[in-house]
């Protein structure tokens, strides 16, 4: 059972899954990946903003989960522990990419022509409007939002993704990031203000 943002919502089945994973049950591992692949991939993609990096790192996350499942004590939800691994991996990868000056690649620089070409397969925001021109507009907006998210400081980006995109509660975010509640809220607010400025042309009116 998963919630609207793709996160599992059944503590009983989560406990049972954890036990089977500890026994290195191959089928349990497949269930884990099937259940969490979308939220994990989405989280990594929104944090890194690069499909290629997201493909690689989200696989690494599951490798780490499987290696470290024996150390999971069940003090928190499996999904919280999993998201903690994701954020740690993302922080490390961002540092690595920063050292290699990966930022110069500008992964969100999609041109208008590209947006129109990919419009047919595009995921659009909110309701799915039937008109192709609105689909293209939706894709342009998504690209603009992703670019604005990428321009945030990594510690702000992490909180925006966890709270506003992934829909985690403040309590879950504290458990994932290890940050105090006040820091989470004030940092999130500053991130939203920065995004408001960056997205002003899309927000006004």
């Amino acid at each position: 059972v998963v919630d609207a943002r793709g996160r599992p919502d059944d503590p009983g089945s989560e406990r049972e899954l954890t036990e089977r994973l500890r026994r290195r049950d191959e089928q349990a591992f497949r269930e884990l990946v099937r259940t969490y692949q979308r939220p994990v991939y989405a989280l990594v993609y929104r944090m890194l903003g690069d499909e290629e990096e997201a493909r690689d790192l989200s696989q690494e996350v599951f490798v780490s989960v499987f290696r470290a499942i024996g150390t999971f004590r069940g003090d928190s939800k499996l999904s919280t522990w999993l998201f903690r691994i994701v954020t740690n991996h993302c922080r490390n990868r961002q540092k690595y990419l920063g050292r290699r000056q990966h930022g110069k690649r500008q992964p969100y620089e999609e041109t208008e022509e590209q947006a129109e070409m990919t419009g047919g397969d595009a995921t659009v925001l909110g309701e799915r409007p039937p008109r192709p021109d609105r689909e293209v507009e939706g894709r342009r907006l998504e690209t603009a939002i992703q670019r604005a998210i990428a321009a945030l400081e990594p510690e702000q980006r992490e909180l925006v993704v966890l709270r506003d995109i992934q829909g985690l509660s403040y309590d879950e975010i504290q458990r994932v990031t290890g940050l105090p509640e006040g820091t989470v809220k004030s940092r999130l607010h500053r991130a939203r203000l920065a995004l408001k400025e960056a997205l002003a042309p899309h927000v006004d009116g």
Partner: protein, 190 residues
């Protein structure tokens, strides 16, 4: 004003505080417009779709795990599983050895540079790095050691689990940056 916008959206304001902010916005079109932009920004973020993972994602992860573990991580099934990875590795090494013997000139024996140059340590380091991922943020690393920052609240559990799972390695605390503990992780001196 700022934090109150966030608290308003998260429904954290007391009724009196909420009413006061409503009154302020009713009296100030600029403030109301500012809040509306803030609310609309958050709405845009919440409406972002969750991208789909690439096709055959689960198979790719499974393949990666089998390669890294040489097929050992999954529990053995009742029937005997052929060690395909081991067979392939032996075949590859045998082919390379034949090629080297017949094509390449004899190589000088590589000089060992202490434990840091030890291939076993390098291979183990990769596994240690993966095991550290759930615990904290890797802050530095070299050929034979890693630095990791662990939230202070989790540090005792980390030390206990690390000592249990990696007896040949040690995690030495070297600093306390902002509510966390920083450890250097390396092989125990022999």
């Amino acid at each position: 004003m700022g934090e109150r916008f966030r608290a308003y959206l998260d429904d954290e304001l007391e009724p009196a505080e909420r009413a006061a902010l409503d009154a302020q916005m009713a009296a100030s079109p600029e403030l109301a417009a500012e809040f509306e932009d803030y609310r609309r920004t958050v709405e845009l973020l919440r409406a972002l779709p969750l991208p789909e993972p690439p096709e055959r994602f689960a198979e790719r992860v499974e393949g990666r795990i089998r390669r890294r573990s040489h097929g050992r991580w999954f529990a053995l099934e009742p029937r005997l599983r052929l060690p395909y990875e081991a067979i392939a590795t032996v075949a590859l090494l045998a082919t390379m050895a034949l090629l080297l013997l017949h094509v390449a000139p004899p190589l000088e024996r590589p000089q060992l540079l202490g434990r840091c140059g030890d291939a076993t340590v390098s291979a183990e380091l990769d596994r240690v790095e993966a095991a550290l991922a759930p615990w904290g943020e890797l802050v530095a690393g070299a050929e034979c050691w890693l630095g990791v920052t662990v939230p202070a609240a989790q540090a005792p559990a980390f030390r206990e689990a690390f000592a249990r799972d990696w007896p040949a390695w040690e995690a030495e605390p070297v600093g306390e940056p902002g509510g966390a503990l920083r450890f250097v992780v390396r092989p125990r001196p022999q």
